[in-house]
Structures are given as C-alpha cells and as structure tokens.
Symmetry: C2
Subunit: 490 residues, 2 copies
C-alpha cells in the first residue's frame, strides 16, 4: 500500500486500491440515503458518518467533490421486494395524510439528526419522486437494449438475458444458476420470467396513490432504478465512488450495476465502498426484535435498552472508534466508554491553548502528522487515527504541565494539526450543552451575587465593588433589589 | 366584522371576509416560496413570517392545516419574463457548478435562516423540478381546452382567447385591452400571438442544461405553471388560501388563476392573501440600488447600511410590529426600537414566574384574552396584539411589584395566555445567545475563582470553602493549580 496516497477498499475487487479519480481534481461520490418513512436510527447514522468522513477527507486532500446523497420517497416496497406496499404510502395510509407529508416530516427530522451529528450536507440531495422522467428514460434505454420486458403494464429487468452478455453478480458474488435453484415461486411473481428479475416500473393498483403516467401504465419506478438514474444525471455515466451500507449490496447495488451496464453498455462506478452493520448487544437490529433505537431516543435517553441519554458527539465518536468495515456492537458500556474517551480527548486538546512556548522542542508535530495521514490513507482507518490522537493527548498534557516543551513554531503547527484532524476531518467538536446552559450560568451568577451580598454585610466594600465592576466589564448589569440582586446581560 | 371569527382580507374581493374553509376541519394553504439562486433577504422573511403566523393561528384554532410552500428551482427567468436566462442556470454557469448544486446550497441556507426566524416548516415543500410530469399534464389539459398554442416547440397561454370566456385580470385589475395598448414588441416575442401571453413550456436552446423531454420539445416549464400544478397535486382543484408577496400578484398569481381556470373550468382559490413590501430607508429594495441586505448580513451586522447586528428574533418582531398589508420601512433606528421593545416585553413576561398569588384578583385575564383574539381575528392584526401585550406587560410589572394582585387560578390562566399568544401564535422566544456563551460562563467563573483566591489569601476559609462546595453542588469541579485554579464541569 502506498501510504502517501489514499487507499480505499473496493468491494468490487475485494482489495484495497489506490484512489485515483477519473477526472481529477473532480470526484463524484454517490451514497444511498434514507427511505423517509420513519425516524433515523443507528443504522442510518453509520453510513452518513462513514461517507461524511470520506467527503471531508477528499476535500481536505484538495479534490472538488460533488457528493450526491438521495432521499428515497417512492418505490421502496416492504421487505425490499417487488410486491407489497410502498413503505411511504403505507405510513401515509396509516396516518391518513398525503404521502408527501410523511416524506417532508421525516426528511426534516433526518436533517435535524444529521446536523446534530455534524454530518455535512451533501452537494445535491435528489428525491426519487422528483426524477420520474429520468427513470422512465433509463427504462426506455434498457428496453431498447433488450434487457427488460413488459408484463401487464410493469417492466422487469431480465436478469438471465443480461447474464448472457455481462457477468451478473460481480459485486455480491451471487450466481444466477444458484439463484434460480434456490428461489421459490412467490405470490404475484407470475408476471416475472424469473423470480430474481426485478421491477423497473410497476403498474399501480387502483388504490395506489403515488403514481405517474407512462407509455406502459400509470405506475411508479422500482426502488433500484432511482439511484442509477440520479447518479447518471448528476455524476455522469461513469463516476468515482458509490457508497452505502453492506445491507444494500444485494440486491440493491447489484441491480444498480446491471441497470447502468444495460443502459450505457459499461459499468458506472470505479470504487464501491460499503460500511458494515451495527448490532445491538450482539443481536442484529430488526423491527421484529424491537431493538431499533432511533437517534432521538439516544439523544434523549428514551428507550428501554438505554441506561441514559447519549449526545450526538458521543454517537459520532463511538462510530468512528470502529473501522467502517467492521461490525460495531452497541451497548451502554461501549457508549459510556466512548463518552469518557471523547471527553478526555477534547479536554487534553483544549490544554494546548495553555502551553507556553519554549526555545527547544522535545518532539516534532510532523511525526504525528505522518501517523495521522497514514491512518486515514489506509482506507479511512479512524480507530487508528483516534489511537494516535490519544497518544498525542498524553504529550499535550505533558506540555501543559511543563514536563515537555515545544517552540512557538512547533506549537502553532501542532495546534493546526489537531484542528485539522479532530475538527475538519473527524468532524468532532466540543459539545457546549453540558456546560453552556442558562441554568449553569444563572447558578454561578447567583453564587457570585451571594458572595457579594455577604461581602457587603461584612462591609467588605472592595470585594463587593470589584464583583460589580468586573461583571459590568463582562457586560452584565447588576441591579440591587430588596431581596438581594438581579442580573441582566446588557 | 364578526370579531369572534377569523376574518382575512381577500385580495380577490378586496375586502375582509369571514374565513370559512371548504372542508372543515381541513385547511389547504399554498404560499409561493423562494427561487433559490441567492441568499434570503428581508423580502423573503416577510412572507415566510406572515404566513407562519397564519399557519400557527389556524392550527391554534383547531384546523388541520396542510401548508404547502414551494421551492422554485427551474423556469424562473431573469426579469420574471419569458425570455432571458433561467436564474438558477445562470448562477450555476457563473459558478461553474451543476444547477442542482446551486439549488441545494441556497435551499439549505434558506432553511437555516427560516429556522433562526422560528418559522415552522411547511407540511410539504415541493420543488418545481420534481414536478415536471404534473406540469406537462396541466399543459395538455390547457391545450385540450383551447387556451394555449404551440409555437416553435414552446407552448404559450392564449390570454386573449381565455379573456373571451373568463375574466382575465380579476385579481390584479389589469384589463387585456389596456395591456395590448401599452405593451411593446420585445425581442424574441415574435413567437407569441400577443406580448402578454406567457410561456407554459419553453423549448430549451442548445446550451440550456436544465431540460426535460416532452412531445413539444426538450425544454422546461414556465415559471407560473409550477404553483398551479403543485397546488392542484397536493391541495386539490379547489383549496382555501393562496398567499404570497404583493410583488407576485401580477403576473404570477394572475397567471395562476388563468391556468387553473383554463385547466379545471373553475377557479381554485377561495382566499388570496398578500403581504406588502419592505422598503429600505424609504427606497424600494432592488439589485441595482445595492440595498439588498441578506438575513445573514442582518444576523452578523455585515453590511454597510447596518449600524450593527440584529438577531433573528428582532427581525421577526420588527416584521410583526407592522400589519402584513402595510409597507414596512427598514432603518437602523426602527430595528433598534424593535429590539428594545422585544427585550422589554420578554423581560416583563418573565416576571410572571415571580408573582405570588393573592386571595383576590384586581383584573381578569379574560379581558386580555378577548382583546388578543379580537386583534388576531381582525386579519391577523399583530401590531394591535403586540400593543395589547405591552399593556399587559405593565400590569405584570405591577403584579411583580405587589401593586396589583391575582388569585392562583387567574395567575395560571394569565401564564397560559401569555404562552399561547407570545410563543405559540407569534412564535417569539427568548434568545439565549447573548447570555449563554462559553465565554460568559468562563468570564464569570474566573471572577468567582479570583474572589475565592483572594478569600484564601485573607484566610477567609469559610468563603473559599463555600464557593468550592456550592460550585460542586452545581456540578463544577475546581482544581487548584500553582497559577490559581481551573474548573471543569463533571
């Protein structure tokens, strides 16, 4: 591995490769976003944070990144299948509202959660329902090239036909013959030639309200199609990186490859990157297991599996302490350890401002810089980077205590280095909530006013005046009342 | 006017009418949102806040409101005309980015500004580019009904033909014959039968990148069409209220009426509501006058016309202090007066918590309640409501000083009333920023630690220990160092 260059694990080649963009300095990055029919949970936080790190790091390296992360607001049926109800339409039916109200509500909440996690906004956030025309155009291309067929108003992708010309299953390793042998006939699938064919366009049943006209039927696009159509529109027929959770590898991403290849005659994506899954106390997350914990529940400590609330930065740090390709197990113990670790780290880093420069340096910030880049260049190895940051934090404590020394130049370089990796690249920040609340300020102010009151009782006018004057200098006005004193910020 | 019911001024009838929804308890509300090619300024804040008040008040009255506010991301040409460049495409060309990146960037910033102004999110926020199919369908209906014609791949609305069957100009009072007499021939308008015909679909020139296929040409929809198509989709062919700035009355809203009537055979909107304009130091806002001040510039005090920064709540209060149908003139003096007024109001209201109940009441909160509702029911008369709140604030000061009295029941009712009108309906809130900063907390803490340090120097152990212990009780740990003391929140 060339440590001086970014290496990423390509799920397609199943090895780490040096990242070389197709059209430097431009980088096209597409990541599968949420299906907005419910609140975001840990399983949404992980890809968002993983590819946020990639987005931040690529930009840090000087690339001009166009980051597209979609919102799925139509076509994603229950059980990720071709039959069953649309997830959003179902939610809308249950709540008796227009589907787009469901979409807006959960999109807004998703954004609020992502902001709390300090996940940067993507360059473009396209919605599936806003790109029906583009999806229909792609269906026409696939039909023209012979890799799809119409069946009762719906259009299906012909996997067997495609497999004659192109290797189907190259991403997931699935083999069509085996798929054929193991899949069973499902209700409603008589429309398809083969059960593993997937829908590009579905004719809407009479009660289905999310529908658009087409030459085949009034209907809606298949779930896999939106990502192919929108990545083509905004990143072109070939682009650099496609990311998503490992749970999307099959059938979603495999279908995307087949669709793009069938439409364009060649593959679209150079690097496929997948984050691994999160387990909860060793168990897979699943609706039936009742162990889905939403991000809001984490932030508020409002779920039976949670001992207490965990802040957004704790969640972010917890996720970054594992490599994105490892599974990550949630437990209260693990989160509490992350919380303590992050606090220790941030506190050590804040000591940097107190360090006084010296004439000589006992170590060189450049050593750490090299280690930091080597970690990030090794397929975004954030746990190793964080381990190096913990090492550095010990040295910063030594600097603060005067046991080690740095020159002004090295000190400046070190501050800049910490800022760059901790804040810009890892996206960590001091959470102000714990300290910075009106209640805290008021509590301390009341104590100070009480001390002043007692000083006056003891005729210690010097102390009383000093408190009043210095508070005034800080912009606080003190007003003596019969019950004591009140304060306002002027 | 029935003061017990909400009355709104209907621009269509040019008088105040009792608000009676078509399908109670449901209310459909459509408001024209921003064209996202630049930062939001005062001219964007005013309609957003005006219709936020309406949205809040309707919900308070118990209506189930579906509030649709669109994002214009295609089709809005320079000078609001049918020729010239698309505003977003132009910005994208100048910045050499994909148009949707411009859209995403300014949409995100608009949302941030609206959140700061405490403007509630609409129920649905549809984008024009996401509803091309719906717009094409509406064009087909208008063509079928004979009120539009094709010309070199573009489709124009036939105003003269429409005017034979329906009264064109009923909202704005424009008369077709006069329009004909006063409009002059413009370059590129030879495609149109009459210069006041407007585009429903424009054929894209070869360099135009925002384009979609259609049976007429590869092109894009006209600006006026999106609102007709999206309001029909999400609110139906008839709905209750359409709002927007007075600058949109002609040609935008007049065209919407013509389009909907031509497509559906009847009008769509029961109540048209328009907020008036903002002037800057008595002058119209205009790009050429260089007096556009963005909301971010207000919040940061970063514009040559601004003496200093003004908070989002100051801007909100300033806008609410004028009736929405009056013009509102910005000046530093006016904003500073609003800031002081809001501070005075919020401070008086916060005194309520300190009032001790009495056995008798000197006045009844119900008197104020009646005045408050009468003001809001009178076409959302927020300045009158605010004047009543100022009156009430004087009485609250009297209650706090013990000059007047209320029973516990009346006190509870009064608190609830203030909360309802100040926070829920007017959407005002105490801004914490000014007080609640880490710097303030640290400044006060340093002062407190210094007082403690001096107490120790004077061997006043009681005071020193008291400070340490009470800080500990507040959750702050004090660590004595050789230079003094440090503090952390535990």
């Amino acid at each position: 591995m060339e440590v001086s260059k970014l290496n990423v694990y390509n799920t397609l080649s199943k090895r780490k490769e040096v990242f070389e963009p197709l059209n430097p300095p431009h980088v096209g990055l597409y990541v599968c976003g949420p299906t907005v029919y419910g609140d975001a949970h840990l399983g949404h936080a992980r890809p968002a944070i993983t590819f946020d790190i990639l987005f931040r790091y690529l930009q840090h390296l000087g690339y001009k990144v166009r980051y597209v992360r979609n919102i799925t607001d139509v076509g994603h049926l229950e059980n990720d299948a071709d039959e069953g109800e649309d997830k959003i339409a179902k939610k809308a039916r249950l709540e008796q509202v227009e589907p787009m109200e469901v979409v807006q509500f959960f999109t807004d909440r998703y954004h609020r959660n992502m902001d709390a996690l300090n996940v940067l906004k993507p360059s473009i956030e396209p919605r599936a329902s806003g790109h029906i025309i583009e999806q229909q155009e792609m269906i026409r291309e696939i039909l023209e090239h012979g890799y799809a067929y119409e069946s009762d108003g719906s259009i299906y992708f012909d996997v067997a036909k495609y497999n004659e010309d192109y290797p189907y299953g190259k991403l997931s390793g699935r083999v069509v013959d085996e798929l054929l042998a193991t899949t069973r006939e499902l209700a409603g699938q008589q429309e398809k030639k083969n059960s593993f064919d997937f829908a590009l366009w579905k004719k809407a049943s009479p009660e289905h309200i999310m529908r658009w006209p087409s030459e085949w039927s009034d209907g809606f696009p298949g779930w896999h199609l939106e990502c192919s159509a929108m990545s083509t529109k905004y990143l072109g027929k070939e682009f650099d990186i496609h990311g998503g959770g490992l749970d999307l590898l099959f059938p979603h991403h495999e279908s995307e490859i087949a669709q793009s290849t069938a439409a364009h005659g060649h593959e679209s994506v150079k690097y496929w990157m997948h984050n691994n899954m999160i387990t909860i106390n060793g168990q897979k997350m699943g609706k039936s297991l009742g162990n889905f914990i939403t991000l809001d529940e984490f932030f508020q400590g409002n779920h039976s599996l949670l001992d207490r609330a965990y802040s957004a930065m704790t969640i972010r740090f917890f996720i970054l302490q594992a490599h994105y390709r490892s599974t990550l197990d949630f437990s209260n113990e693990a989160l509490q350890a992350s919380e303590k670790g992050l606090e220790r780290l941030m506190q050590a880093m804040s000591q940097l401002d107190k360090v006084k420069p010296s004439d000589v340096s006992d170590f060189s910030p450049a050593e750490y810089e090299a280690l930091f880049y080597a970690a990030m260049n090794d397929d975004l190895n954030t746990p190793v980077l964080i381990a190096h940051l913990f090492d550095l934090s010990k040295r910063i404590n030594s600097l603060a205590d005067g046991r080690e020394h740095l020159t002004q130049t090295d000190l400046d370089a070190l501050k800049q280095l910490v800022h760059r990796f901790l804040e810009e690249i890892l996206g960590l920040k001091t959470e102000e909530k714990k300290v910075d609340t009106t209640a805290d300020l008021d509590g301390i102010m009341q104590l100070l006013l009480q001390v002043r009151h007692e000083a006056k009782l003891h005729k210690d006018w010097a102390t009383a005046d000093k408190i009043r004057n210095q508070l005034q200098a800080l912009g606080f006005q003190i007003k003596d009342t019969k019950d004591g004193a009140e304060w306002i910020k002027s």
